[in-house]
């Protein structure tokens, strides 16, 4: 029987609210829409008029899973605007904090959201009944990530210890010791995780993507680097707006991002991995090879393996940072605002997160632009589903539908992040609109 148009009203096991619409006509895919109906939240609008110091605390609220990413992109953008450099142990502490977030975000996705798909379970709870030890390992591993964020960031969700210039308080070596013990276990558990996901059954599905990620001369990228692609892009992050553009499409409350002249592009673990394999620690590289990944991977279903490799790297990197840690003399460097525009681009667990702020000479935000990774991946998700459905049209409808949802989960979409902003038409009842004077000016 010929498959008809089908839709998934509410995607399961993704963070936030979205649906999928696939239109078939004459046995070909006529249209695919990733419908994001999670309500938009207007952060870019209400940041106007706030003080620059507030930016890490306000933007952290965009997401409960990746608040550190927002804080890091935000503080780096402000520091860029004011000519402030955060180096040495403060820089290392920021990397450590980000390790914590990568671990807890990736592990949550691998074990609770994605693995059930590969093992044939409708959800993690059913999977937990048959695979109790595996799930418990995942939960304990996630907890280690949370513990890093709590210790360095001051709180597990929406950390309170991050500020422009550094932190409010830095840990002692002694405070980090129990964490190091936990991380040694976690590193082993992460290696077990790579081995576990490497054995999962992956459909044969490869694509030539335009991958975009940060690249740094020495490190696997977190907070700093150039923006590069496998298609010849190599720019400093302050040139982002010259090369990338956002547009509103009718079926989504999240803006679609494209590379001018190229179109859809792909950010996230697969992009980082393909563009930065040589920067992984040797333990992570070895584990990746053992898992059957080359130095490149173009099968989005194998993103679960790449996430596991990144989790292992994060444990390894966290241990390295703690081992070399000496408390810095001050918790934050001096910051003096000036009229300027600042750019920050950091690698959230789901991919590149870009912030741009225009600030007044008194340190008030005049203008804000925030581009989350999931917004950037929308087009490539739709393209992938199009290709995928085309390839698997012969499958019974229910199975095809299920596989489409699984395909979307490859991207670990964070829909709350994607909908933080919508271009708003000014209507009579609205108080907020474009071009309004900043408050408290």
């Amino acid at each position: 029987m010929k498959p008809k148009t089908f839709k998934v009203d509410m995607l399961a096991r993704v963070e936030g609210e979205g649906g999928l619409y696939v239109k078939l006509k004459n046995n070909t895919v006529a249209d695919v829409q990733l419908k994001i109906f999670e309500p938009p939240r207007f952060f870019e609008a209400f940041l106007r008029g706030r003080r620059f110091e507030e930016v890490p605390d306000i933007t952290a609220r965009i997401c409960g899973i990746c608040p550190v990413a927002y804080q890091m992109s935000a503080v780096h953008a402000m520091e860029n605007a004011f000519g402030v450099k955060v180096e040495g142990q403060l820089r290392a502490l920021r990397r450590l904090l980000y390790c914590g977030e990568w671990i807890e975000s990736h592990v949550l996705h691998i074990y609770m959201l994605h693995a059930p798909d590969f093992l044939g379970y409708p959800d993690a709870i059913q999977m937990a009944r048959d695979h109790s030890e595996v799930v418990q390992r995942g939960l304990r591993l996630k907890k280690t990530g949370n513990e890093i964020v709590r210790l360095v960031g001051g709180r597990e969700v929406h950390p309170i210890n991050v500020r422009v210039g550094g932190f409010y308080k830095v840990p002692t070596r002694r405070e980090l010791e129990p964490l190091a013990e936990q991380l040694k276990w976690a590193r082993d558990a992460a290696l077990e995780t790579v081995r576990f996901v490497a054995k999962l059954p992956f459909p044969d599905f490869e694509h030539d993507y335009v991958f975009v990620a940060l690249r740094h001369p020495e490190e696997y990228p977190y907070n700093e680097g150039h923006l590069v692609s496998n298609d010849g892009l190599d720019i400093s992050i302050d040139h982002y707006d010259k090369y990338f553009t956002e547009e509103h499409v009718e079926h989504s409350n999240a803006l679609h991002s494209t590379l001018k002249n190229t179109g859809a592009y792909f950010v996230g673990p697969l992009a980082r991995y393909n563009l930065n394999f040589d920067r992984l620690s040797s333990l992570a590289q070895e584990a990746a090879r053992e898992a059957g990944l080359g130095s490149g991977c173009r099968n989005p279903f194998q993103s679960i393996v790449v996430r596991a490799v990144e989790t292992l790297y994060a444990c390894d990197e966290a241990l390295r940072i703690i081992d070399q840690y000496e408390p810095p003399p001050v918790a934050a460097v001096d910051v003096h605002p000036r009229a300027a525009t600042g750019y920050g681009c950091t690698e959230a667990p789901r991919g590149m997160l870009y912030h741009r702020y225009k600030v007044s000479d008194e340190g008030l935000i005049l203008d804000a632009k925030i581009v989350p990774p999931t917004s950037q991946n929308q087009k490539v998700i739709e393209q992938d589903v199009t290709q995928f459905v085309t390839k698997y049209l012969a499958l019974p409808q229910e199975e095809l539908q299920w596989k489409c949802e699984q395909a979307i989960r490859n991207y670990d979409p964070c829909i709350s992040c994607a909908t933080h902003f919508l271009k708003l038409e000014i209507s009579e009842q609205q108080a907020i609109g474009n071009g309004q004077k900043p408050m408290g000016g």
């Binding site: 993690a124 709870i125 009944r129």
Partner: protein, 165 residues
């Protein structure tokens, strides 16, 4: 060995009007509980909720409900045998909620031996700190009931295993 004989968990969100019901019950109980029983508030994230439950011999969970019943309606579930329906309790698409936390705990064999869940039907979950009058009244009622449950659960734990019904 579990560290908490009886744990009361008030689940909810402050600043969301009736969604604070569970938190308020737990706060009111803190000073009144017998020795061996303790109360905490929790914002409902499933994995950490499950971990709290895993540490208790017996637990009572209280949360606001959004089931379509009259505001102030009180429901009590013995979650030992089965989970309360997932749609009863407000849950967001951003996290694992109460029902999933209980089921995950059950799947991992980490649930307390006794687990009672109280739901108080809320009327308004918008931003704010106002409680509907019916919800306020039920908060008082549930506070008394949970205090009784705590006494009973502690008493049943003191009995040697063979004499427990």
């Amino acid at each position: 060995m579990k560290s908490k004989p009886v744990l009361i968990i008030g689940v909810g969100t402050a600043y969301r009007n009736d969604d604070a019901a569970g938190l308020i019950v737990a706060e009111r109980l803190k000073a009144r509980l017998p020795e061996g029983a303790s109360a905490i508030i929790h914002e409902g994230e499933g994995v950490s909720l499950m971990e709290q439950l895993a540490d208790a011999e017996a637990a009572v969970l209280i949360d606001a409900m959004c089931s379509g019943a009259e505001p102030g309606t009180i429901r009590r579930f013995d979650a030992g045998a089965q989970s309360p329906p997932a749609q009863m309790f407000r849950h967001s698409t951003h996290a694992i909620g109460i029902a999933e936390a209980i089921e995950l705990g059950r799947a991992l064999r980490k649930l307390p031996r006794r687990l009672i869940v109280y739901g108080i039907e809320g009327r308004n979950f918008d931003a704010g700190t106002q409680l509907a009058p019916a919800v306020e009244a039920s908060i008082e009622t549930v506070t008394h009931r949970v205090l009784e449950e705590a006494h009973q659960l502690l008493a049943s734990e003191e009995l040697p295993a063979e004499t427990r019904s």
